[in-house]
């Protein structure tokens, strides 16, 4: 039997049910919004930012490596031909990168080389194995002060004298002098002396083991390519420098030297008519101007930048 008391209880049940329903709906909305926020936030843009960063780094590194190789690939090349070679090879490289990114990330990337906006330097090369000079007199390789980007000397240890030859890199009062000779046990002695005026500020001696009678020296970094001997690099003195050689008739090998601007030297442009044992000059790209484009669903950018091929900024 329904009394006034039980009727009040029934209304309380109805009110309680409505309150509970409101609570359930409210809690579900809050939980739902939290879950949605957690799942949506980190998953979309973040990986593409990483991939864009990766592409930016790799495109610079790849372009630098590629242009460096092309600079030193041919001896008899004009600036126009070198520019064409670099444009074609960067295009091929860009296509490979684009295929790789499209298949793995569903992103479009491209790299374009702009020859007109790139800066050229000069390369002095003796491509054939011979004495570095024919007599003991001093010979200027780079008579005017220039930024050195590359100085690789490939020494024929077997035919190099036990008398010292000197290579002198000078920058005003600062200098690095390299004294090279064959040792009594058929190795190559490289002694570097760093001076500030008349004061010697550094000295290092490396005894380099030849590989098949040859030693490949990187004079800019001050090491052999097999890293078995170290000495002072030309980086020990800062700024533009001149390069000269004395007693070059004691040293046999070949060399490749790159600096940022052409100089007036007695050496002519390299061509097929110039003997490989004669030093000659050819153009190199010192700074390459490149556009990089990255295009994905969440992130797009196009960037023009200059790549310093030898890591030296003017």
């Amino acid at each position: 039997m329904v009394t006034e008391r039980t009727r009040n209880r029934a209304q309380m049940i109805l009110l309680g049910a409505i309150a509970l329903a409101v609570l359930i709906v409210g809690v579900s909305i809050v939980v739902n919004s939290l879950t949605t926020t957690r799942t949506a936030a980190p998953s979309q843009a973040s990986p593409q930012i990483d991939e864009a960063r990766e592409f930016g780094f790799e495109s610079r590194k790849g372009t630098r490596s590629l242009v460096l190789r092309l600079n030193h690939r041919y001896r008899n090349v004009s600036a126009g031909d070198l520019g064409t070679q670099i444009t074609e090879n960067v295009t091929r490289y860009s296509q490979l990168l684009a295929e790789s990114y499209a298949s793995s990330h569903a992103e479009y990337v491209s790299i374009t080389y702009h020859d007109g906006d790139s800066a050229y330097g000069e390369r002095l090369v003796q491509a054939g194995n011979d004495n570095l000079t024919q007599n003991e007199n001093r010979r200027d390789l780079v008579p005017d002060e220039r930024l050195l980007g590359w100085f690789v000397l490939n020494v024929d240890v077997e035919n190099t004298s036990r008398e010292q030859a000197e290579i002198i890199v000078e920058n005003g009062t600062h200098s690095v002098e390299y004294r090279l000779n064959e040792t009594s046990n058929d190795k190559l002695n490289v002694t570097s002396v760093v001076s500030d005026g008349a004061t010697v500020t550094g000295r290092a001696t490396g005894i380099c083991d030849p590989s098949r009678t040859r030693v490949l020296l990187d004079l800019v970094d001050g090491t052999s390519f097999s890293a078995d001997c170290q000495f002072n690099g030309t980086k020990a003195i800062e700024g533009p420098s001149t390069v000269a050689i004395e007693n070059g008739d004691e040293l046999v090998g070949k060399y490749d030297l790159v600096y940022n601007e052409s100089v007036s030297t007695p050496y002519g442009l390299c061509s097929t008519s110039v003997d490989r044992i004669e030093p000659c000059t050819s153009p190199v790209v010192w700074v390459a101007n490149v556009s990089a484009t990255f295009d994905s669903s969440e992130l797009n950018f196009s960037n023009d930048y200059n790549v310093s091929i030898y890591g030296v900024t003017s």
């Binding site: 359930i24 980190p42 990986p47 590194k61 790789s100 298949s103 793995s104």
Partner: protein, 209 residues
């Protein structure tokens, strides 16, 4: 008669209460977001973390002084025709840890926390029609549905050499053959994809689950 009406009102109020409660419950159940990880092992947040960690390992290795990604990709043994120190060409290092900091980071970040991973070297073919090729560096089985992937692109050049122990440093990449049975020129599975100094653009892909 009056008491009957009150009884019917009481019944109706009870029914309305039940319907209100059921409606609220139905709304709550229907509105719950069903995430991909709700029914599996990895939730979305964990997947995102694993992808980021794999990506960081690749980035760190790519920029390392020693044993960078390029060195690891060229760490190919001529004697075993697989990566140097690996088990075989089908599973690469398999249960073993890859060399260098790369292997140490993968081991510390994933293996020690109970995750599995595969590492593949994906290369461009010499002929575009051949499609991409893949060399397993580490194969630990089939990834689960919740597996995540991170990758890094590495450029190889013609005049680079293999980096495995006991491999001649006078033989450049372009001189190798992609035919495993050619014992004359040596074997390296990644082909020369284009003319010019670039040899191939390979992708080092890490799959974690």
């Amino acid at each position: 008669m009056r008491e009957d009406s009150r009884g019917q009102a009481f019944t109706l109020e009870g029914l309305v209460s039940a319907l209100v409660l059921l409606g609220a419950l139905l709304f709550a159940v229907q509105s719950v977001v069903v995430t991909p990880g709700s029914g599996g092992d990895l939730d979305t947040s964990t997947q995102s973390d694993l992808r980021q960690q794999a990506s960081d390992i690749l980035l760190t290795t790519a920029r390392a002084e020693d044993n960078d990604l390029s060195t690891l990709v060229r760490n190919w043994s001529q004697a075993k025709q697989t990566f140097d120190g690996a088990i075989n060409r089908n599973i690469g290092y398999g249960p073993r840890t890859p060399p260098g900091g790369f292997g140490a980071m993968l081991n510390q970040t994933f293996t020690q926390r109970g995750y599995l991973y595969n590492v593949y070297v994906v290369y461009r073919p010499a002929n575009v029609s051949d499609g991409t090729g893949r060399v397993p560096m580490v194969d630990r089985g089939n990834p689960s549905e919740q597996a995540v992937t991170a990758s890094y692109t590495v450029t190889l050049y013609d005049n680079q050499t293999l980096t495995a122990r006991n491999v001649s440093q006078n033989v450049e990449l372009w001189q190798y053959d992609t035919n495993a049975t050619n014992n004359v020129d040596g074997f390296y599975p990644v082909p020369n994809a284009v003319d010019g100094p670039v040899y191939n653009v390979v992708e080092v892909r890490v799959v974690v689950w």
